[in-house]
């Protein structure tokens, strides 16, 4: 079953890397890209993606704040924050926002593990 994936990162190079990982697992899925939080939220409004992969380190609204916003606006979307910064604090903040944490650079394996947890929409309401 095909799904919609939103990829948010201000670096096009980083988005290319995520897409490459995604392609190796699910080349048939639809992807959307955004380079900042504003564009991302717009896409969420329009497309209601199943999955959102957010970079943490972005100017303006960072990935963690965006994750919280997304969980509010679109609770059915599965959100993961991607960051090279593995500090416990960041990981916890991600969890607190209802998002998974994925380390950067993103590998196909890490992505696959995350996607395994996706089929059941989380029913917890914030």
């Amino acid at each position: 079953m095909t799904r919609k994936v939103l990829i948010v990162d201000d670096s096009k190079l980083a988005r290319m890397a995520v897409i490459k990982a995604l392609d190796s697992l699910h080349p048939d899925w639809t992807r959307f890209e955004a380079s900042d939080a504003t564009a991302a939220l717009e896409i969420v409004r329009r497309e209601a993606p199943d999955i959102a992969l957010l970079d943490f380190n972005m100017p303006g609204m960072d990935g963690l704040v965006l994750a919280a916003e997304l969980r509010q606006q679109s609770p059915a979307t599965h959100v993961a924050v991607i960051s090279a910064n593995h500090q416990v604090e960041v990981v916890n903040r991600a969890r607190a926002a209802g998002a998974a944490f994925l380390p950067k650079p993103l590998t196909a394996d890490a992505l696959r593990e995350f996607l395994v947890g996706v089929p059941d929409p989380q029913r917890s309401v914030r």
Partner: protein
């Protein structure tokens, strides 16, 4: 190079520029949390990018810088000159790697060793400062000093160093790792207010009290941050638009969808295509003329159609050339870094200011300006800006100011480099000119100050002997003038003794670049636009027959009339050439004809200056161009010539 490496190259360059601009800004204002955040994010993304393309050496090197910046953000280190220098060195190394990547198409080998060097540098310089104490009692009797910030021309009623440390600590609190809760913000605002009150800065203290009264943290945070920063730097409320290097916006501006990034080559292809369309339109003109001469009833209609086409083509050409414009900021922003080094070498503190950096000009002009401007900057620093004791004696600020200004004047662009130094030393110029035999003693005597100043443009004036890419003739204002004139511009120097010097460049807004083939005819060189050239042949004289009143040659079963170029241009008819005839076969308006020339030269990319003034109506000449060796080449309009 694969897609990933291409994108990596593109993005990394932009990030490196962002980081550099922010670092230079931090050098002058080490506690600017926003700039610190910018550098940090840039380096973090650079590191990420390196990881994506498996450039491990770069990952390591940038990681070392990132660690330093993390410590700085947490308040464990100050961004002092060493820290900034180390980070800049890291960015430099990255840029070098990127250059190698671009040249070779592959990640640079030997990068691991370079990375080792960078990492070692950061390790050597880890001096973690003690965090500034937040409980220092203000000491009103301490006099204001410059607190180790790089020299600037600030007013003398600055807060003393310890007070500034306290303010800096409050800023750190506002932007702390815990995100600055309301409690933190309140504490910071109140502390700062008390501090300022102790220094009789009642108005500022009141402002902080008002901020402290704000209810919502997210309103309070940016306001408090801005006010604390302003107080720390003692700057007036509204930042001037023309502040040195620190606020040049990054080249990376794709936050809105109204801009597109386009490959420069595509634009050049479009420009060439537009040129061809222009030629095709000219062919219509010819057709219309022929129809008129033949009394063809279609003549009038054709003439109108051609006129319509000509308008559209001209508009198209203007629009397309307009795509190639860049803001002058692109070349200006290369200088703060270089100036910093020159200033340190010569021990002459100087501040570089910009104005009008968003003014646009053709890409060719903007790119060509780098070396001339660099040379002018060097001169300003070497000769213009006086040494400290002299400046002090003249009651000038310790830090000299050089301003680079750009503005649009009609269809030209004006760029000025103005310094507040001592002006041009005409006595020295007279001496050097005499020494180098550029003028005899009597003429020098008779010259006005302005005329003497203009002597710096004379070839042979410059004292340096290195050869640069400017013109192959060496550095010096003569090379600058040659480069500027080659694009159709003018440069002049204006000096006010004791007050300063301004070098003024007037350049055309857009340029037309074309490729020509140079040919020799009648003992002179001419340029034939390459778009009109189909082929060139050499044939033995006996193959040139006569058809009616005209000579002709048969090429691949086609009879092509041949005209002697020198004769077409009004030169006397040639003697019979002993050897083979060299013929350039040109096409226009669907027809072909041959031009007999004496010899063929090379292909040249030139900037065409249309004829103006007295020569404007000369038939057969499209314009002129200045060759690298200073000669003028006449470029032909083949269609006109053959009518």
């Amino acid at each position: 190079m694969n897609d990933f490496l291409q994108q990596f190259l593109l993005e990394s360059r932009e990030l490196a520029e962002q980081a550099t601009a922010a670092l230079l800004s931090l050098e002058r204002a080490p506690h600017d949390a926003e700039q610190l955040g910018t550098v940090f994010r840039a380096m973090h993304t650079l590191k990420g990018g390196a990881g994506i393309v498996d450039f491990f050496a770069m990952e390591r090197a940038v990681h070392a810088a990132e660690d330093l910046l993390t410590a700085a953000r947490a308040g464990r280190r100050t961004m002092d000159a060493t820290a900034v220098g180390d980070c800049l060195a890291c960015v430099d190394q990255v840029l070098q790697w990127l250059d190698t990547l671009e040249e070779t198409g592959e990640l640079p080998g030997g990068a691991e060793q370079d990375a080792d060097g960078i990492v070692a540098r950061f390790e050597r310089d880890t001096g973690e400062d003690a965090s500034p104490s937040a409980s220092v009692p203000p000491d009103p009797s301490a006099d204001g000093d410059s607190a180790g910030v790089s020299a600037g021309s600030y007013a003398s009623d600055r807060l003393p160093a310890r007070a500034r440390d306290v303010l800096a600590a409050q800023i750190a609190l506002v932007h702390g790792a815990s995100g600055g809760s309301h409690g933190h913000l309140l504490s910071a605002a109140v502390t700062a207010a008390n501090l300022l009150r102790a220094f009789d800065r009642a108005a500022d203290a009141d402002e902080l009290d008002r901020i402290a009264a704000m209810r919502r943290a997210d309103n309070m945070r940016p306001t408090l941050h801005a006010v604390l920063l302003r107080l720390l730097e003692d700057q007036p409320e509204a930042p001037a638009a023309a502040v040195a290097g620190e606020n040049l916006p990054g080249v990376r501006g794709e936050t809105t969808s109204r801009t597109l990034r386009v490959d420069a080559e595509r634009i050049d292809a479009l420009v060439r295509l537009t040129g061809e369309i222009t030629i095709a339109t000219n062919g219509l003109a010819h057709l219309a003329k022929v129809a008129y001469t033949d009394g063809n009833p279609m003549a009038a209609v054709l003439k109108d159609r051609h006129a319509a086409f000509a308008h559209l083509t001209a508009d198209l050409q203007r629009s397309v050339l307009g795509l190639r414009v860049l803001p002058l900021r692109v070349v200006f922003q290369r200088f703060p870094r270089l100036l910093r080094e020159m200033s340190a070498q010569l021990d002459k503190p100087v501040e570089l200011k910009f104005a009008g950096e968003e003014t646009e000009a053709d890409k060719a002009i903007v790119e060509m300006l780098f070396e001339p401007l660099l040379h002018v900057l060097r001169n300003a620093l070497d000769h213009g800006v006086e040494r400290a004791p002299v400046r002090a004696g003249r009651r000038k600020p310790r830090t000299a100011t050089i301003e680079m200004r750009a503005s649009r004047e009609g269809d030209q662009v004006l760029i000025e480099v103005a310094d507040d130094g001592g002006g041009v030393d005409t006595a020295r110029i007279r001496r050097v000119a005499a020494e180098r035999g550029l003028a005899d003693a009597d003429s020098l005597e008779a010259m006005t100050e302005a005329e003497v100043t203009a002597l710096v443009f004379a070839p042979g004036f410059s004292t340096a002997t290195e050869v640069t890419t400017l013109s192959g003739r060496g550095v010096g204002m003569d090379a600058v003038r040659a480069a500027v004139e080659r694009v159709g511009g003018r440069v002049s120097i204006h000096s006010e003794p004791g007050l300063g010097t301004t070098v003024r460049f007037l350049l055309p807004f857009s340029v037309m670049m074309t490729t020509v083939m140079s040919v020799e005819a009648g003992g002179q060189m001419f340029g034939v636009p390459l778009d009109t050239v189909v082929e060139t042949i050499r044939v033995p004289q006996h193959r040139l027959g006569v058809v009616g009143a005209v000579r002709a040659v048969v090429v691949r079963d086609q009879t092509i009339p041949v005209f002697d170029l020198a004769q077409l241009l009004g030169e006397p008819p040639p003697r019979e050439h002993p050897g083979d005839a060299t013929i350039v076969i040109a096409a226009f308006a669907g027809q072909r004809c041959g031009l007999g020339v004496d010899a063929l030269g090379e292909r040249l990319d030139i900037i065409l200056k249309p004829l103006d003034g007295l020569l404007a109506g000369t038939p057969g000449i499209a314009g002129t161009t200045l060759l690298g060796d200073g000669r003028v080449l006449l470029v032909l309009d083949i269609a006109e010539l053959l009518q």
